[in-house]
């Protein structure tokens, strides 16, 4: 346990006067991209090129990374699609609203990294096999992979490293894929969806309909995004002076919300892979004590935003037990930046952002953002009634964007039955 020190803390420190610092590509560790292309030249594999149009973003040592805007193959996340479906839905919705076409495949398996990190009931060959099978499936459609989960992303970066450095692993995986009639293909860049959101953040801001200037956000960056293969992550000289990853923060700033810092920014959320499933006292204690309580005490945010399945799950689901135990009132709502950006662009909080799947109370946040959640919930309950009456019917993208029955925020008397159960 940490040694507690009780020292009174006063105000924030004055801004620094030390000037600018930039990392240079000379400081970067080995150039994996160059090695990847060398292997292609030797016929070891195919490197799937990033399609145009793409945006170039800066990574940790100043090297550019290409982020394709459209024609992307969406490598979905089981935790998102399974437990936080508004997360995946918002990612797709943002693409649709920006007019950027994509492929949502059925020919996709989970990356299986959650299982691997939790139980080790796998090995490097199987993990590489799963990754490369998914990449080959994307290649076959001609669309370029965009990865939804930060753990899938980090894991695939690891797999790429292992394949580049170990010929015997490449040979083994190539043989396995050959049996399925698939080539050994690696994408030129491994792209996380939050890198795409960062790349189009100004386009999102242009289409923003809500004023977020009064919303205070704390950002939680995912360990697996920036700590695995750390040189391949987005850094921006205008965000944290290029000293911390700019992911998510860059988007929040573009949307005009306030970013508040807190002293456990670099800490893991406590997901634990195995722990969150079978030993949740660890996950819960860690998430609440190291992240949520610190955020509340130091930053008092309206929402905390993150960009990974596990982090959203952990931070959102861990608060209930702590509240019940301690009698703490306010929770900090937890959203992905995709859901937050979608709300900013006027997305329906339930049809698109699927907030009813979230645990920590998000209603005060929606009110502060100027969203009439009672009305939106009434609409959604009507949707549910329609769906119940018609088994087999599903909500469509057109349904999700159907015009609201009442204008945003217009004073409608909510149905008393809705209020009785808190409007949910």
């Amino acid at each position: 346990m940490p040694i507690p020190i009780n020292i009174p803390v006063k105000g924030p420190a004055a801004p620094t006067k030390k000037g600018e610092f930039r990392r240079t590509p000379d400081d970067a560790p080995e150039d994996l991209k160059a090695k990847m292309l060398e292997l292609e030249a030797k016929g070891e594999w195919i490197v799937q090129r990033v399609p145009e149009p793409y945006v170039e973003v800066q990574t940790k040592y100043g090297k550019p990374k290409k982020i394709p805007l459209q024609h992307t193959w969406h490598h979905k996340s089981c935790g998102q699609c399974g437990h936080i479906p508004g997360y995946s839905t918002s990612i797709f919705w943002l693409h649709r609203k920006l007019g950027l076409e994509y492929n949502d495949p059925r020919d996709q398996t989970s990356c299986t990294a959650w299982n691997y990190y939790a139980s080790a009931t796998s090995n490097s060959a199987a993990q590489a096999g799963v990754a490369m099978r998914n990449f080959a499936a994307a290649y076959e459609t001609g669309y370029f992979p965009q990865i939804h989960c930060a753990t899938s992303y980090g894991h695939y970066k690891e797999v790429r490293s292992e394949l580049i450095h170990h010929k015997e692993l490449r040979d083994q995986v190539r043989e396995i894929l050959k049996k399925m009639g698939k080539p050994l293909v690696i994408p030129e860049e491994i792209v996380h969806y939050s890198e795409w959101v960062y790349a189009v953040r100004h386009e999102i801001a242009k289409r923003q309909v809500l004023d977020l200037s009064q919303i205070t956000v704390t950002v939680h960056p995912a360990c697996h995004y920036y700590k695995l293969v750390s040189e391949d992550a987005i850094y921006d000289p205008d965000v944290y002076g290029g000293q911390r990853t700019a992911i998510v923060t860059g988007v929040v700033e573009a949307l005009g919300a306030k970013v508040a810092d807190y002293s456990t920014w670099f800490d893991c959320c406590g997901f634990g892979f195995r722990h969150i499933l079978v030993q949740r006292d660890f996950t819960r204690s860690f998430a609440v004590q190291r992240k949520i309580e610190v955020m509340r005490d130091e930053a008092n945010p309206d929402v905390t935003l993150t960009h990974d399945t596990g982090c959203v799950t952990t931070l959102d689901k861990s608060q209930f037990a702590a509240q019940a135990h301690k009698g703490v009132t306010a929770a900090i709502p937890v959203l992905s930046e995709a859901q937050f950006a979608a709300l900013a662009m006027g997305a329906h909080p339930y049809r698109v952002c699927q907030l009813h799947w979230h645990s920590a109370d998000y209603h005060p946040l929606l009110e502060k953002m100027g969203i009439d959640w009672r009305e939106r919930w009434r609409e959604f309950e009507d949707d549910l009634e329609r769906l119940k009456k018609d088994p087999g019917a599903v909500m469509t993208w057109d349904d999700a964007d159907a015009a609201p029955t009442q204008a945003f925020g217009a004073g409608t008397r909510p149905h008393p039955a809705h209020l009785a159960h808190g409007g949910r």
């Binding site: 020190i5 924030p12 420190a13 002293s263």
Partner: protein
């Protein structure tokens, strides 16, 4: 036509001592210094007391400078850099760039004393926030304050209650690529710790380290007094991050001897940054075609047996241009370089005389 002059590039401790040595041996030294003043890093980086011995840096450097300025055998060229070179041992033709324009110089031997740069802590593997927080300093930032005998928090001018040093910043690190040890930072940090405790007896001082590198007499002259007389707290475990908590800094590490993670508030954190080859060292190595090791320092040709000869005959190196060096090393190398340079010049001259 062989020249009997010896060109010395760099006017810091190594270059100055080499120039004195060359002059004492009766040869002409041309001392080239890119700055407008002599004294090298101890002067330009405002060093307070020197490690070890605790003598005042400005005083010591003034003495060394006095030994060469006004010396008829030492031709001092300030605001001058070397831009090109040709020829070979005994007969080098070097071009200088001075204020008035380019100037040719002939020399029989060259001594490179272009020194080191301090590691930029923005490149550290760990999250030290040097560019985010005013109260995170480097060793040279602390030296400058100690020289003024005013050690306060840059953020608000208040006297600190708790100060700590973090060792090995930019050294012993495979991720950065500087796998070597910078040799002097343990001694310097301990020396500064003593100076802070002398200035501010109420201030607690901590040093977080991986190993305490206190060679030879540094152990009993610096380390033991720091602990015993000045109660500096040495804790084995390097810090992983510095974050702000209110108007204080929070540091995180593991107290490895106690086997537990720790999180402690500090007022000032001093990063013990290591040495890297200076821009001048890398530039000179390129111009003179000197072999460098993978870190960019000038590679001595024969390791421990000859610390001053380089891969090019007639070109010698002294001081931190060849790698992390303490002051003892530097002064020793400077003397050895002066001796070998003079020896070479004499041999070449006598060979030429024998022929004519």
């Amino acid at each position: 036509m062989p020249s009997e002059s010896i060109l010395i590039i760099g006017g810091g401790p190594a270059g100055l001592e080499a120039a004195r040595g060359v002059a004492d041996l009766g040869y002409k030294a041309i001392l080239v210094e890119k700055r407008g003043q002599l004294g090298g890093t101890p002067i330009s980086a405002n060093y307070a007391a020197l490690t070890h011995g605790m003598r005042d840096a400005s005083e010591v450097m003034a003495e060394i400078v006095a030994a060469v300025s006004g010396n008829p055998l030492v031709d001092i060229r300030l605001n001058a850099t070397v831009t090109g070179s040709s020829g070979a041992a005994g007969d080098f033709r070097v071009t200088l760039q001075e204020n008035e324009g380019p100037a040719p110089v002939e020399a029989g031997a060259i001594i490179v004393a272009t020194g080191f740069d301090h590691f930029d802590p923005g490149r550290a593997t760990q999250q030290y926030g040097y560019y985010e927080y005013d109260d995170v300093l480097t060793l040279q930032d602390a030296e400058a304050m100690l020289k003024e005998k005013k050690f306060v928090k840059p953020s608000n001018g208040q006297v600190p209650e708790r100060v700590c040093f973090i060792q090995c910043v930019g050294s012993r690190d495979r991720q950065i690529g500087n796998e070597y040890c910078s040799k002097v930072c343990c001694g310097i940090a301990s020396k500064q710790a003593i100076e802070i405790r002398q200035l501010l007896p109420q201030c607690k001082v901590f040093i977080f380290y991986i190993d305490m590198r206190m060679y030879g007499y540094w152990e009993n002259e610096i380390y033991w007094p720091a602990q015993e007389k000045y109660k500096v707290q040495y804790i084995r475990g390097v810090i992983s991050e510095i974050v702000r908590k209110g108007d204080r800094l929070m540091i995180r590490g593991e107290d490895t001897t106690m086997n537990r993670p720790m999180e402690v508030a500090m007022d000032i954190v001093i990063l013990s940054v290591g040495m890297e080859p200076s821009k001048g060292t890398k530039e000179i190595a390129r111009i003179l075609g000197l072999a460098q090791n993978k870190y960019g320092f000038i590679d001595p040709a024969h390791g421990s047996l000859d610390t001053v000869s380089t891969s090019v005959e007639g070109v010698f190196v002294a001081g931190a241009a060849a790698g992390p060096k303490d002051l003892d090393d530097t002064m020793g190398m400077a003397g050895a370089a002066a001796m070998k340079a003079a020896g070479l010049v004499r041999k070449k001259a006598s060979v030429a005389a024998g022929r004519s």
